[in-house]
């Protein structure tokens, strides 16, 4: 712990801290461009010069490169230090286009801030500025190379941190240039981080281009709702229009970065088809009337037919508070028919995880620091993109990675590959060595022994699973394996990617399933039997999310009352007798429980309403003055649910009531947004004995329908930039092993016809030699040909043949 003096102020810092970081700890601003907290020092920009006046090393030094040492006396304002910074600024300004008035970075530009702060105002260089051509880098990122100051943050982020390989540095001397070999969409799912790390306007958010200046926007700490990881975000909005998302720092979760789905998937807030007014019986109503009608009809049904007549269906994208209030509403209506997720298998998996994770839980930070990462049936890019980044950081620091997956998913790091269904492997690994490894092919036994040895030797192993492929049996098997591998001095961790931002919270509220039907299936039987006459749907769209839409359709038709609370246009809304518009997370405060059981709060960024740009008819400012705010009717679901049960719609009191009722959430009332969140005290679940799974198909083709990175997740799929990218990135096609294709008689370039319980479809197909034999993979893009194929079912039997002929 060296103690030193910087600008006459003493500071003691951890060993290895650089002078730059030590100065920052004191709150001193030392200009810097190439240094970034997440990337470390490079020593390229030479702007962080300081003068070391006394100590073991003296003279003008780059603050980012010199570790703080005992007895150092450092000046950030010595004439030589400021002279160096002035010189560097002048050199950098030779070629900078000085186009701040038309640059989206203006106002939040590190280069602008540091240049102005350093007093640079006159350009003495009289030569020609060097200029570059820019590239079209796709719908997410705008490229303006003339602004570049060559800090190398972008390549270090894209290539080293994120593992992308289609972007880099080209050229030398004053023609150093950052981009792709040829124009085209950046392929890395983490490309948006270029926007955050670039200290000037070379890489700006194309989806937010020319929409707002930073000082005009509202922002608040929020949580990304586009998967279960709960990454920290700053959403930004201007005049009721969502503008963009930037990464927020949370060392426990995402660190400094975000995936592109999280960053560019927020535009659905302003979706033109978003229903914004309460409706009952097809007529728009004022809130008091709508709430009164819903309350009256629900109460009437209960009075008329007795308790149990109402069912309540929640969702993984609802806030924890709303999910809890939904259960409370059910209680009030005298029913125990509550589900917190439509999809039965996803519901069961989330509940199995919430019940069994306990002390096995690992955060993204833990994963980054692990020395052995075993991915079991997880396609991280699609299901939880930032897990891929977390595992990559582990691998960069020497960890080994192994991937047990029939899909051979794309990973941004080298990994040992086992192209097999994970469940038999999980069981074989958990079994003692002398027990036969049932279900693992003899040829793979060497790999099994090797992996077993690696798991035994690792210091901090962690098993990563994907709930969609594993299902509840697989989740239990994964947790059982992690427990079996744990020793008191060397625990083994587990992490499972669930589907939604509050899947875990819903799982906690629902509790461990005891073999009964889960999800909507738990409610459907009652509806089909005629016992249930009313359904309250909280931010869920069963017609789109349940694997049997026809069955759901029939069931919904039997209801006397369908009440839908939702923030997004969905298919089920059209059937609703009563519709109550709710806010999306950026328009409200609330809390989610992420995949590791971390409770995190988010704040309201802006109030709901139609954007001024949409209501002004092109005029700015709008000429039509009105006392109300158009489109401002959506309310937080927790407020709506509270009012339905005559509770004050006040978040603090709802949280207090929740914490009082359920001790697991005792930390909720004191929870603050913008903080790292609180890992909930998870009980050491005794994982239920898992039934022998039918999850390891021995022969025949099995269809696996999966989520894709872009276009599958319901909220981000409403965002226009995501839709554009999804068309290209998530094509409607089938993938299968070339040998399977040959056996099925498929011809290259000819579409294939697929038949299975989900339906039938003819699609192009692509040979995927990395696949396990027997696997047919289809990624579902909303609005595409596979719309009816709901993911999350695990492998299902299917038949395949050339399109245009009868399937044999």
């Amino acid at each position: 712990m060296p103690t030193l003096v910087i600008d006459d102020r003493q500071v003691t810092v951890a060993a290895g801290t650089s002078l730059l970081e030590a100065a920052m700890e004191l709150g001193l601003v030392v200009p810097h461009y190439c240094y970034h907290k997440a990337l470390g020092a490079l020593g390229a920009c030479r702007v962080c010069a300081v003068e070391i006046l006394a100590g073991p090393e003296q003279g003008l030094r780059m603050a980012c490169l010199v570790p703080a040492q005992d007895g150092m006396v450092v000046s950030t304002a010595a004439p030589r230090a400021t002279g160096m910074r002035r010189a560097v600024t002048e050199w950098l300004m030779q070629n900078h286009p000085h186009d701040c008035p038309v640059c989206d970075e203006g106002g939040e530009c590190q280069l602008q801030d540091m240049t102005v702060a350093g007093g640079h105002s006159v350009r003495r260089f009289q030569g020609k500025k060097r200029t570059f051509h820019n590239q079209d880098l796709g719908p997410f990122i705008e490229h303006e190379m003339n602004r570049c100051i060559q800090c190398y943050r972008c390549v270090r982020t894209y290539r080293e941190h994120c593992g992308g390989d289609d972007f880099g540095v080209l050229g030398s001397r004053q023609r150093v240039w950052f981009g792709r070999f040829q124009p085209g969409r950046l392929e890395s799912p983490f490309s948006g981080n270029l926007v955050d790390v670039c200290p000037t306007g070379v890489f700006t958010d194309r989806t937010a281009r020319f929409k707002a200046r930073v000082w005009e926007m509202e922002q608040a700490p929020s949580i990304c709702p586009h998967c279960a990881l709960g990454c920290a975000t700053w959403p930004w909005a201007r005049y009721r229009e969502f503008v963009r998302i930037t990464a927020r720092e949370n060392p426990e979760t995402n660190g400094f970065f975000l995936c592109d789905r999280g960053r560019f998937g927020g535009g659905g807030v302003n979706h033109p088809e978003r229903p914004r007014a309460p409706r009952v019986d097809g007529r728009e109503r004022a809130w008091p009337e709508a709430l009164g009608l819903v309350r009256e009809r629900l109460g009437g049904l209960v009075r008329e037919r007795g308790p149990g007549v109402v069912a309540c269906l929640g969702s993984a994208r609802a806030s924890l508070e709303a999910s809890w209030l939904l259960g409370r509403l059910a209680e009030m209506l005298g029913t125990d028919r509550v589900a917190h997720e439509v999809h039965p298998r996803r519901d069961a998996a989330a509940r199995a995880l919430a019940a069994g994770l306990g002390g096995l839980a690992r955060s993204q930070r833990d994963i980054r620091q692990s020395d052995l990462v075993v991915l079991c049936g997880l396609d991280p890019h699609a299901e939880a993109p930032m897990l891929a980044l977390a595992a990559r950081q582990a691998v960069r620091q020497g960890a080994r990675a192994v991937c047990i997956d029939p899909r051979g998913p794309r990973l941004p790091f080298p990994a040992g590959r086992i192209a097999a269904w994970p469940l038999p492997w999980l069981r074989a690994l958990a079994a003692r060595g002398d027990e036969g490894p049932t279900g693992v092919r003899a040829a793979a036994l060497a790999g099994l022994a090797d992996l077993r040895a690696a798991l035994a030797a690792a210091a901090s192993p962690v098993l990563l699973g994907g709930a969609d492929l594993l299902g509840p049996e697989g989740v239990r098997a994964l947790l059982a394996l992690a427990r079996a591998l744990s020793r008191p001095e060397r625990p083994c961790g587990a992490a499972v990617a669930l589907s939604g931002p509050d899947s875990f919270g819903g799982g906690l509220l629902a509790g461990e399933p005891a073999g009964e039907p889960a999800g909507l299936d738990a409610l459907l039987e009652g509806i089909e039997a005629g016992d249930v006459r009313a359904l309250v749907c909280l931010e869920s769209d069963p017609l789109a999310e349940h694997p049997e839409p026809a069955r759901v359709e029939a069931a919904l038709a039997r209801l006397e009352l369908l009440v839908c609370l939702d923030c997004a246009p969905g298919r089920t809304l059209a059937r609703a007798h009563a519709f109550l518009p709710t806010t999306v997370p950026v328009e409200m405060a609330g809390a989610f429980v992420n995949f590791e059981g971390r409770l995190q709060a988010f704040e309201r960024v802006f109030s709901p309403g139609l954007p001024i740009r949409a209501t002004g008819g092109g005029d700015h400012p709008p000429r039509e003055f009105r006392p109300d705010t158009p489109g401002d009717l959506p309310r937080p679901a927790w407020a709506v649910l509270a009012e339905l049960q005559d509770m004050p719609p006040v978040l603090a009191s709802i949280r207090a009531a929740l914490a009082a009722e359920d001790a697991r959430f005792a930390s909720l009332p004191a929870l603050e947004a913008g903080q790292p969140g609180v890992r909930l005290p998870l009980e050491e679940g005794a994982p239920g004995t898992e039934a022998a799974g039918a999850d390891s198909p021995e022969s025949g083709l099995r269809l696996l329908v999966t989520e894709a990175l872009f276009g599958s997740e319901p909220l981000s799929a409403l965002a226009e930039p995501i839709q554009r990218v999804a068309l290209e990135a998530t094509p409607d096609e089938l993938g299968l092993h070339p040998d399977d294709a040959r056996e099925a008689g498929l011809q290259v370039g000819q579409p294939a016809r697929l038949e299975c319980a989900l339906g039938q479809v003819s699609l192009p197909w692509r040979p995927r030699p990395e696949f396990a034999r027997g696997l047919v993979l289809a990624a579902r893009r909303r609005g595409g040909a596979l719309e009816a194929f709901v993911p999350g079912l695990g492998p299902i039997a299917c038949r395949l043949g050339p399109a245009g002929e009868g399937v044999p």
Partner: protein, 424 residues
């Protein structure tokens, strides 16, 4: 020249490399045999340490000291890399040496590898040096066939394999850590130090990078002894002979092997045959394009590392480029700076953007578009550009800084005349 002791070029046959038989006929590979038979690696290191040999690649770092930092006894792969990326304007002595004595380098590398416990060596050859690459290719094949390279060098338990690598051709590759990146096949930009190559070099393993001439001095040192080698120098504290590559406005622009410490006047007037057309000596680059100018007042300086440092310059590679009285030193410096700016890798700001800034200032002065203020701006630049990431920009500032130091009056004359006084 014949009265000067010749150590490296004693048997030079202009236009033709000496192959294995010729090399052996004059005692070649005897030093290797002696060392493998009678000296331990530590004794070889000690002999090099005692010899006072300083690196011939430009920096003049004592070779024995450098070797003392090398973990010779550490297990695992270690590398010896010969830097033959001789690309500094005015420097060509390694080409002359290797086109004469390719086996001398091989023997030097074998001895260095033996001393440092290294089993793999690389020679990184400048793109333009196809002749050197051909000579080394043939010589290494000869050595391999004769059992001098391979798993059992000269029938002993010592193993050494030598790999030749032709550069893709940028000056920055001469910087040792860029060179290592280039060898690894990644973008050749300099690496941060520490860790130094002796700790983490090529492929993350301990590596020592040595200049051609330095390595070629090892066999004579092993054979002749440290005292003999020190005695070759004319000035106390210096050691050995030195290859001087002459160029510029001289009557004879050739490469000579002269004792360390030979006076500059002797180099210019005797060996270089004097300034051409009987003109007066104005200045010279004493050791390649990155060394500060010497002027007529320095003609009696001994050409060795210490003396030149004390005179505010550097011996560098001893590539002496002479300029006669009619030369515009601003124009010379502008030309040199353009070279350095062109060869900048673009990693750090002082080099990438500072050098073009200096060029633009000098262009204004040279073209008569500048006032005295530009001279003041120019004067302020070297101090800051010297804080670049690697030594490239520091080297570029050698001529610029000495231009200001020795020829400020000439710069003012440019301002007064509104253009170059040497063009009329």
């Amino acid at each position: 020249v014949s009265d000067q002791p010749q150590v490296l070029l004693a048997h030079r046959r202009p236009g033709q490399p000496r192959w294995l038989a010729d090399y052996r006929a004059t005692g070649g590979y005897q030093a290797l045999g002696d060392a493998l038979g009678r000296l331990s690696p530590a004794e070889v290191r000690q002999r090099v340490q005692d010899s006072g040999l300083r690196g011939r690649g430009g920096a003049g770092f004592p070779t024995g000291t450098k070797w003392s930092f090398f973990p010779a006894d550490a297990p695992g792969p270690k590398y010896l890399v010969c830097n033959c990326d001789e690309m500094e304007p005015g420097t060509y002595k390694d080409r002359v040496l290797l086109e004469a004595e390719p086996h001398l380098l091989i023997e030097g590398m074998l001895l260095a590898a033996y001393a440092l416990g290294v089993e793999h060596g690389y020679v990184f050859v400048r793109y333009a040096y196809q002749g050197v690459l051909e000579a080394l290719t043939r010589a290494t094949a000869e050595a391999r066939a004769a059992g001098l390279l391979g798993p059992r060098v000269a029938g002993t338990g010592f193993a050494f394999e030598l790999h030749l690598h032709g550069s893709a051709g940028r000056y920055i590759l001469g910087e040792e850590t860029s060179l290592l990146n280039g060898l690894e096949g990644v973008r050749p930009v300099p690496r941060l130090r520490p860790p130094f190559p002796a700790q983490r070099g090529l492929f993350g393993r301990p590596t020592t990078v040595q200049n051609v001439e330095t390595l070629c001095c090892i066999p004579p040192i092993v054979r002749g002894g440290a005292d003999w080698f020190r005695g070759l120098a004319l000035t106390p504290g210096e050691a050995g002979t030195k290859l001087f590559g002459l160029s510029g406005h001289l009557n004879r622009t050739e490469c000579f092997e002269l004792p360390m410490g030979v006076p500059l006047r002797e180099v210019v007037e005797r060996h270089g045959g004097g300034v051409r057309q009987g003109r007066a000596f104005k200045a010279c680059l004493p050791g390649g394009a990155s060394t500060p100018y010497l002027t007529a007042q320095h003609l009696d300086l001994p050409m060795d590392f210490g003396s030149l440092e004390r005179a505010g310059s550097r011996l560098g590679t001893a590539g002496v480029t002479v300029f006669d009285e009619r030369t515009c030193m601003l124009e010379v410096t502008l030309n040199l700076t353009r070279f350095f700016a062109r060869e900048s890798c673009g990693l750090c700001t002082p080099c990438r953007d500072g050098l073009p800034y200096v060029i633009e200032l000098m262009e204004r002065l040279e073209q008569g578009r500048a006032g005295l203020e530009e001279i003041e701006i120019l004067k302020a630049q070297p101090e800051y550009i010297n804080h670049s990431f690697c030594a490239l920009a520091v080297g570029a500032m050698g001529p610029v800084e000495s231009l200001i130091r020795h020829f400020e009056e000439e710069l003012r004359e440019h301002v007064r005349r509104g253009g170059c006084p040497h063009r009329s």
